[in-house]
């Protein structure tokens, strides 16, 4: 199994590199997929992102699953509408922490929330 490395908004899988829209905070392989957590500070500090959000665009879903050839498999569901994930607390089961104060267990096959608990 090839390891996943990242630098800025580039993912390196084996000898190939995959660009992603914003800087990567965490990335790892899980069940043959690349799980990527985009850095929330990277897109929240982007003026064009803020402008698009004010125009009514949906918030960027910053937890993604990619195939090894770079195809987007899913974007993880948020517990609340305006939200972001900021940390992966467990890779298996896949558990992430959200800005809305939830610890969410994510289904690695679909990106849906399986379980969530508020830590306030």
């Amino acid at each position: 199994m090839n390891a996943v490395r990242f630098q800025g908004n580039l993912l390196f899988v084996g000898n190939s590199s995959l660009p992603v829209p914003y800087a990567v905070r965490d990335a790892f392989l899980l069940e043959g997929m690349i799980i990527v957590l985009l850095d929330p500070d990277a897109f929240l500090s982007d003026p064009s992102y803020g402008k698009n959000r004010r125009r009514g665009d949906s918030p960027l879903r910053n937890l993604l699953a990619l195939s090894t050839d770079g195809k987007l498999l899913w974007e993880a569901e948020f517990p609340e509408r305006a939200d972001y994930y900021y940390s992966v607390s467990s890779r298996s089961p896949l558990t992430v922490l959200s800005f809305s104060s939830f610890r969410c267990e994510i289904d690695p096959q679909t990106g849906r929330i399986l379980k969530k608990e508020c830590f306030k």
């Binding site: 500070d41 918030p59 940390s87 800005f99 969530k116 508020c118 830590f119 306030k120």
Partner: protein, 272 residues
């Protein structure tokens, strides 16, 4: 506007009742002698020229109308003082009396119609107000029930999905005026979250109880949070959350309704 319509309705009701009592039951016609005397004013003393038109009250030279003298004893004597006196002309002229009756009758009819119209409007007003009130109450009740059902359903759904309502008291949304430092307590790796306080909690135990924190938030650390100007917040009070074993609550809390960068959450320091 509401006050105007209430006044309008009351006025119409009063007018309708008055119209009915006065015009509708013939009370005015019964009292026309009392209230509608057509009076003319004659001078005491002989009229100039001494001529009087036939079948009219006339300016009597001797103070009397030509023709019938139905009640000669009631005819006022000419006064020597030149003062005018009011007399009931109808009593001395049948034609005038008939005209008077016709006018009264027509007036009575107009007034009766006016009263009827007012009464009908008042009844309609009352009827539609009552109907509107009933419909309004029914709709309000239905909406309230639907809202409550939806809320209960939503709460049940939230509890099932892991979201437990924890805000009560006066819940007020506002936009942050000027950048301000808020505080947040946490434990473990949960270094970012949307629930804040405007003053630092005094102790870990106080924070856990007063902010009704879940058992897995031990409030071991406190951090400062920079909330930028213009950020939308919701102020409320923590309510007891028995599911988490918190039966007190009561502390003032603030919920970030908009996301702010993670960089705005300062490093945590231990809370005793």
């Amino acid at each position: 506007m509401k006050r105007f319509w209430r006044w309008h309705g009351t006025w119409m009701l009063v007018m309708a009742v008055w119209g009915l009592s006065v015009g509708g039951n013939g009370q005015w016609s019964d009292r026309r002698d009392q209230y509608f005397h057509p009076v003319i004013v004659v001078p005491h003393g002989p009229a100039p020229g001494g001529a009087v038109a036939s079948r009219s009250t006339g300016w009597a030279g001797d103070g009397r109308a030509n023709g019938a003298e139905p009640d000669a004893g009631l005819w006022p004597a000419a006064g020597a003082d030149g003062q005018y006196r009011a007399i009931d002309a109808c009593r001395y002229d049948e034609e005038l009396q008939r005209e008077h009756d016709l006018i009264l009758c027509e007036g009575h009819r107009v007034l009766w119609r006016f009263g009827e119209q007012l009464r009908q409007e008042a009844i309609d007003y009352v009827r539609w107000s009552a109907a509107g009130g009933v419909v309004g109450r029914t709709v309000r009740t239905a909406l309230k029930s639907a809202r409550q059902t939806a809320r209960i359903g939503h709460d049940a759904h939230n509890v099932a999905k892991g979201t437990i309502p924890c805000a009560g008291g006066v819940i007020r949304q506002f936009e942050q005026q000027g950048t301000k430092i808020y505080y947040r307590v946490f434990s473990g790796d949960a270094t970012t979250g949307r629930w804040l306080t405007s003053v630092p909690p005094k102790s870990r135990a106080w924070a856990q109880e007063a902010l009704a924190l879940p058992p897995w938030n031990k409030a071991t650390h406190i951090q400062e949070v920079v909330v930028p100007e213009g950020t939308l917040l919701e102020r409320s009070r923590a309510i007891p959350v028995p599911e988490w074993g918190r039966l007190r609550g009561g502390a003032e809390q603030f919920k970030l309704l908009e996301v702010i960068p993670e960089a705005n959450f300062g490093p945590g320091r231990p809370l005793s």
